[in-house]
Structure formats: C-alpha cells, structure tokens
C-alpha cells in the first residue's frame, strides 16, 4: 500500500506568514483608502452646503439693496404705473423688471447660481417686495449623449 507522509518542509511557515501579511496589508490599504474617500466626501458635502448657504445670504443682501432702491422712489410715485417706471429707472445693475416681477441671479461659490425673483407689490400694499422664486441652478453641465 502506497502511504504518503505529509512533510512541513523548510520555508513553508515563512511563506504562509508572508502570504497572510500581504493579504492583511492589502485589506488595510483598501480600508484606509475607503475611509479617506468617506472623509473627503463628507468635507465636500459640508463645503458645498456652506457655499450654497453663503449664496442664500448674498441673495438676501441683494434683496436689501434692491429694497433700498425701491424705497427711495416709492414715496414720490403717484400711481402704480409711475411707480413701476420709477423702479425701472433706479434698478441696480443685474436686476431686470418684467411686469411686476424683478429678477436677478446671485452667484454661488461652487459655480452654480441662485435664480431669484421678487414681486413688486402695488403702492397700496403692506409690503414693497415679496419673494416669488429662490431656485438654485447647478453650474455643472450634464450632457446626456
């Protein structure tokens, strides 16, 4: 009967250790890379949100600047038509008046923009300006083809 013996030859233990260490090192490296990606993604998300918040704050200051201009002509306007004309004349650069809607864009730090619009309320109204649109448009261009 052919009986074969198992021999644990010289170098086998070292070879096994080397293989296990290499595998563990690769797993550790992949773990580190994965965690780094997670950290970068978290930081990027926080940065993007902060940039959009800054754009919203800038839009509120743009509204304040517009309101200061509107406020200056409101007292002297006789009727709504004259009021709109006077507002058109004093609109700061970058603002457009169409009907009773004043619109402008506030740039966000991430390349996008806030598309803003307010309604110019009639002289008889309680308010001068009312928000009607406050929409973020991404700066990233997506080509479907």
């Amino acid at each position: 009967m052919d009986k074969r013996e198992f021999h644990f030859g010289p170098g086998a233990a070292t070879l096994m250790v080397v293989v296990v260490v290499v595998i563990m090192s690769i797993i550790a490296l992949l773990t580190v890379l994965s965690v780094r990606s997670d950290v970068r993604l978290t930081e990027r998300a926080a940065e993007l949100y902060s940039l959009r918040r800054e754009a919203q704050i800038a839009a509120e200051y743009d509204l304040a600047r517009l309101d200061a201009a509107v406020c200056g002509v409101r007292a002297g306007a006789g009727d709504d038509g004259a009021y709109r004309g006077a507002v058109q004349a004093v609109l700061p650069d970058g603002y457009t008046l169409e009907g009773d809607i004043i619109s402008w864009q506030t740039q966000a730090g991430d390349g996008g923009a806030l598309d803003c619009a307010v309604r110019l309320e009639p002289l008889a109204g309680d308010h001068r300006l009312t928000w009607v649109r406050h929409r973020y448009t991404s700066g990233d261009q997506f080509d479907a083809e």
């Binding site: 010289p10 070292t14 250790v17 918040r53 200061a68």
Partner: protein, 136 residues
Amino acid sequence: MNRRGNNVNALLVEILIAILLFSLCMTVVLGVFLKAHESSRNAEAMTDAMDAARSLLERLSASDDASALLAEGGFTSAEDGSVWTLADASGFVTQVRFTLEPLPSGTMHLTDVEVLKPGEAEPHTSLRAAHYEEVQ
C-alpha cells in the same frame, strides 16, 4: 537520527521567527485599522454634526417663533435671548446666535448655528442663515 533532530530544530526556529515576524506585521496592520476606524468615526461625527446644524437652521428659518422652537428643543438662553445653547449626551455643544443688522430700508436677521466639539476651540461646524425684513 542526529540529522533528523537538526531538521526539527531548524523547523522550530523558523516557526518561531515566523510567529515573531507575523506579530510585528500585525501590530503595524492593526494600528492602520485602528487609525482608519478613528478617521471613520470622526467623519461620521462630522456628518452627524453637519446634519443636525443644517436641520436646526432650516427649522429656524421656517419658524415664526425661533425662541419657542429652541426652548422646545431643550436649548437654554442667555439673559437677552440672543444666544441659545444645548449640550448633548456625547458632549457636543450646539450654540445658536441671533444678530440684527440695521440696513437703510430694513433689518437683516442673521442666525448662526455652531456645533462645538468638547476640548476644541474652533467650532466643529458653523452655518449661517440670513433673512431680510423690510421696514415700512
């Protein structure tokens, strides 16, 4: 017989050296795993803090009575009601500060939300919202 004994000794020495080498390498590899775990936990804490601050800021922006909302949420305020603070179970401190900025035709209401990590001077997360209110 003597030759077989030498072989066994050499094998034992090799196994001992292999165990030593394995232990040293595993010490380094486990250190890397621990560091990765720590980084992962920090990223998780940062995400949680950011989400909490963002959620709070959105709710404050949408609320008509920010003070009531904060009081309901367990925040305590300073005497003038401009600074509200909440310390959670994990030691993070959330601070809300209200500031009024007078402008030519109205007032800018500024709300700052800061999440402070225990033992750190710089805020972990800092967000700001603004709301313009015209004056008649």
